[in-house]
Every structure is written in structure tokens, then in C-alpha cells.
Amino acid sequence: MIAVQGVPLVDFLLLGALLFCVGLFAALRRSNAIMILMGIEVMLNAVNINLVAFSRYLPRGGDRGQAFAVFVLAVAAAEAAVGLAMVIIVSRRRGTIEIEEISDMRG
């Protein structure tokens, strides 16, 4: 069994922060709806790294953090399902999922 002794909490937090910012960059940079959704999934994974790392290092309440991560997973899956359903219908009706190109509304 591998164990984590020897890696301080702050390293996990920094990794979570870096992954979160990378995901945010992906979500903001992309103009394609599927790719934006992928960026958001990366951000949610960063959240889970935070939660699980805290749950292992905190003196108390560790079970709460891991349960929180389970909820994040479930909700992310639901969000992905609805988001991708919407991507499919938009691409069927418009032939594109570039956010700029599907924008009719302005002002």
C-alpha cells in the first residue's frame, strides 16, 4: 500500500490551485461549448483534490470532506449529462457549437 507520509498538505493545495486555474483558463479560453464543459470538469477535479487532501490532514471531520467529494462527483456527472445533451441539440439545429456563432441575441 502506498502511503502519503512525506508530502505536506500545502503541496496538495498548490496542485489543486494550479489545476483549478488551468481548468479556469480552459473554460474561459475556449469558444467551443464541449471544450468549455471539459474545462469546468477539470476545475471540479481540482476541488476534489482539495477536499480529499483536507480530509486526510485535518485533525477532525475527515469523513465529511470525503462525503462532500462524493456529492461533487455526482453533481458533476449530472451537469455533464445535461450540458452535453444541450450541446447535441444546439449542434443539430445550428450545425455548430461555437458560442460566438450561435449568438443571435445582442445588446
Partner: protein, 178 residues
């Protein structure tokens, strides 16, 4: 040799690099593959953290189910413009087609703030983890069904609503009643 640290650096490096490729890969299929690697890397980090149950769920649910949905969406959406214009040079990847360099600057600023805050707090943060629970499934189940019974039920309604919604939205006959 600090083996956990080596494992952490390797797994973390893979995770962040593939996350970065999700942001910059020109082909949507490549981005999806790198997303799967990111998910797997995070699963590996959970193993390292001795959260076995979450690691297994991470692999099954993210690297399995969510990836399947993403790939289905890519295939079903029959995109003609599946490829973004290839960025010119390394700096080109930092620019957004619509927003220019703003997303990159924003993300870097946010990370800089986090970096400063975390590094200032580092000396006071715990260095060694607690002893791992003997059975992480029992550990989570206790919280999930004793404390978080209500959110658990609400989440089931949420999954139902999402399922109904996905069916309503993608139904082919176009919503007309009989």
C-alpha cells in the same frame, strides 16, 4: 529517497500537464483524451491519499462514465468545425480566439494570489496526514448515510431531473405531442 514525494510529483505533473493540454489542444478529440488522463491522474492522487473508495469512484465515474458521455457528444454533434485554428507558436496557445490574452492573465493572477496565500500559510499547515481509516468505504458511508442523508436524497432527485432533462432535450420528434 522520499518515494511518496516522487509519486506525488509524477502524478501531479501528469495531471496538470494533461489539464493544460485540455486547455490548448487544437482538436476536440485530443482534448477529450487528455481530459481522461487528467481524471486518471486525479484518481491516482486519491490512491496516494489512501482514499481508495473515492479513487475507484473517480476512475469509474469520471474516467469511465463522464468520458463516455463526452465522446458520445463529440460523435453525435457531427461538428464540421471540429478543429480550432492552430495557434502560431507557443505563445499562440495562450491566446483565446475571442478574448485574446485575458483568460490567461486572469488565471495567472488567480494562481498568483493563491500561491502567495498558501506559501505564507505553509508553516502552520499540517505536514503529515492522519492514519488512514482501515476501510475507507465504511468511513464514507458513515458520513453519507448518518449525517448527509438529506443531501443524499436530494441528489437522487437531482439525478432524476438531469436524466429527464437529457431525454427531453435530445428527443428527436421535436417536442410535438402525438
Amino acid at each position: 529517497m522520499n518515494w511518496p514525494m516522487v509519486a506525488f510529483v509524477v502524478l501531479g505533473g501528469i495531471t496538470v500537464y494533461s489539464g493544460w493540454r485540455v486547455a490548448t489542444a487544437p482538436l476536440v478529440t485530443h482534448a477529450a483524451l487528455f481530459l481522461a488522463v487528467t481524471f486518471a491522474g486525479v484518481g491516482g492522487l486519491f490512491f496516494l491519499l489512501q482514499a481508495d473508495f473515492l479513487a475507484a469512484v473517480q476512475l469509474l465515474l469520471y474516467a469511465g462514465a463522464v468520458m463516455t458521455v463526452v465522446i458520445f457528444a463529440i460523435m453525435l454533434s457531427e461538428m464540421k468545425d471540429i478543429e480550432e485554428p492552430r495557434p502560431r507558436g507557443w505563445l499562440g496557445a495562450l491566446r483565446s480566439p475571442s478574448l485574446g490574452a485575458l483568460p490567461f492573465i486572469g488565471a495567472v493572477l488567480l494562481f498568483a494570489v493563491m500561491l502567495v496565500v498558501y506559501l505564507r500559510g505553509a508553516p502552520a499547515l499540517p505536514v503529515t496526514p492522519l492514519p488512514a481509516p482501515t476501510n475507507s468505504t465504511v468511513f464514507i458511508a458513515g458520513a453519507l448515510f448518518k449525517i448527509y442523508a438529506l443531501p443524499f436524497e436530494v441528489a437522487s432527485v437531482l439525478l432524476l431531473a438531469a436524466m429527464i432533462g437529457a431525454i427531453i432535450l435530445t428527443r428527436v420528434e421535436g417536442g410535438r405531442r402525438r
